[in-house]
Subunit: 253 residues, 2 copies
Amino acid sequence: MTSQGQDRAQAPAPRERRTVRRRRMHEDLVDVLAEDIRQGIYPVGDPLPSERCLMDEFGVSRLTVREAMAALESHGLIETRPGTRARVCGPRADFLLSMLSQAAVFYLQQPGGLHTFGEVRELVETGVVRLAAERATATQIEELAARLQANRDAIGDTKIFGQTDIEFHLAVAQIVDNPIISSFFRAVEQWLQEVRDISLRNEGQMDIAYAAHARIFEAIKAGSPDLAAQEMRVHLHQLATIYPRNPDAKSPF
Amino acid sequence: MTSQGQDRAQAPAPRERRTVRRRRMHEDLVDVLAEDIRQGIYPVGDPLPSERCLMDEFGVSRLTVREAMAALESHGLIETRPGTRARVCGPRADFLLSMLSQAAVFYLQQPGGLHTFGEVRELVETGVVRLAAERATATQIEELAARLQANRDAIGDTKIFGQTDIEFHLAVAQIVDNPIISSFFRAVEQWLQEVRDISLRNEGQMDIAYAAHARIFEAIKAGSPDLAAQEMRVHLHQLATIYPRNPDAKSPF
DNA sequence: GATGGTCAGATGGTCAGACCAGTTACAGAA
DNA sequence: TTCTGTAACTGGTCTGACCATCTGACCATC
C-alpha cells in the first residue's frame, strides 16, 4: 500500500510539540562509544568491537547497535565497510567542510540571508587582506601577480573570468595560511561562483572587477593593510550594488 | 562475548583505504526523500509517508527505510517521534550551532589549533568591533557601559569576572546584529569560558583585561573603528602571551 | 623464501516477521 | 454537544536468518 500524495494539504506553521521526546535505546550506546573514542580507548584507525560483540556487551539487539553505529558515522567519528569492523576515523576536513557548507546554505536561505552572509564575507575578506598585506612574501606576491594577470587575460569570457576571479581571492586567502580560513573559502566557493556568473553579465563588470583586484594587489604589494582592506571593502560593496536584490539563494551543492 | 581490549595494539596512522565503498540501499532513499523535501513536495511541518508505506513504495525492508529516516534526522531535515509519522523540520539554528561547535572543536584539536583558531578569532573580533564602532546607537553604548561596569565589579572573583568578560564581548557582537556572527560567538562560548578560567588565574590579569575592555569601550563610544580594532588586537595578543603554550584543547561540550 | 590460490570464519548489509508503546481519529454513550 | 473508550496507525525494538565482503590461515608452486 503506497501513500503518495497523502497528507500533503497545505498546513499552517506547525505548532511546537509539547511532549518530551523519549530517549532512545541506541542514544545511550552512542554516548558511551563516543566517549570511548574521545578518551582514546579506541584511537584513530582502530577497529571498534563488532556489532555482535556490542549487542552482547550492552544487551541490546543488533539493530539497535547498528543504529548507534550509523549515528556515529553520521557524526563523522567512524566509518563502516562490509566485511570489516567499523573503524575510528579522525575528524576529517572534508566532513567538516560539508558541515560548514550546510551551515552557509542555511544562513543564505534565511530572510535577509544574502545581506547577513555578505556582511560576514566582508568581515572575513577584509580581515584576510589585512593579514595578507602584513605577511606576503616576495614569492607569494609573484604568485598573486600571476593570478591577477590570468584574471586580466580572461576579460571577455564570463566563465573563465569568474573562475580566475575566485582564484585570485583564494590566493589572497592562502597567504594567510590558516586552515579555518581556507575551509571557509572552499565552503562558499561554489556559491561564490554562481554569484559571479550572475554579476559578470553586467556590462563592463569584468573591467571593474579586474581594476579592483589590481588595486587590492597593489595595496598588498605595498604592505598596506588599511589600504588593502579599504579596497576590498569598496570592491565588495560595488558587487553588492549590482547583485540582484532578492535572487533565489542557490545551494552550493 | 565481549571484545573489550581486543585489537588495541598501537598501530601506525592508517593508510587510506583504496577499495571503493559500495553504495548502500538506504542512501538512494535518502537522496530521493531529501530532494522531495528540498523541492517542497513535503513542506516544513508536513508529515512524511509512514515507514510501512515507504517500504512498499520503494520495495525495501522497513529496516532500510528506518536507516534512511535516521540519516535524514541526523542531517536535521526531519524529526521522528513514536506513534506519529516523521515530520519535515526547517533547518534549525540549534542544529547549525552544534555543527559549528563541532567544526570549532575539530580545528582546535588539530596541531597548532590554538594558534589557528586564535587567528580567526582575532580576525572576527577585530572586524566586529569595527562594525560596532561604526554602528553603535546611544542605547547600545549604554548597554555596553553596563556590561563594562559589571566586569569591573567582578574584579577579584575569577568565575564571575570570566562570565562578565564573555558577556562584554557578546554585547559588542550583538551591536552588529548578524545571526552568523552571533552563532559563531555562541559556538565558541563555552570554550572561551574555559580559556578565561585558566588565563584569569594569572596575577593581576583581571585588572589588565578590564582596562583593555575599557579602552575598547571608549573607542566604540568615540566612533573610532580603527582604534577599536587596534585595542581589541592588543587585548587578544596579550591574552595569547599569557595563555599556556600547549594546553589540552578542551571540547566546548 | 616469495607468491598465488583456496577456503573457512568473521564481518557488515539487508530481509521478514513479530511485539510493544505512543498517538490519533472516530463512533457511541451520556 | 461533549466525553470516553477503542481501534487503527504509527514508530521503537527485538529475533532469527541469509547474502555479500573481507581477512587470515594454509597449502602448492617456483
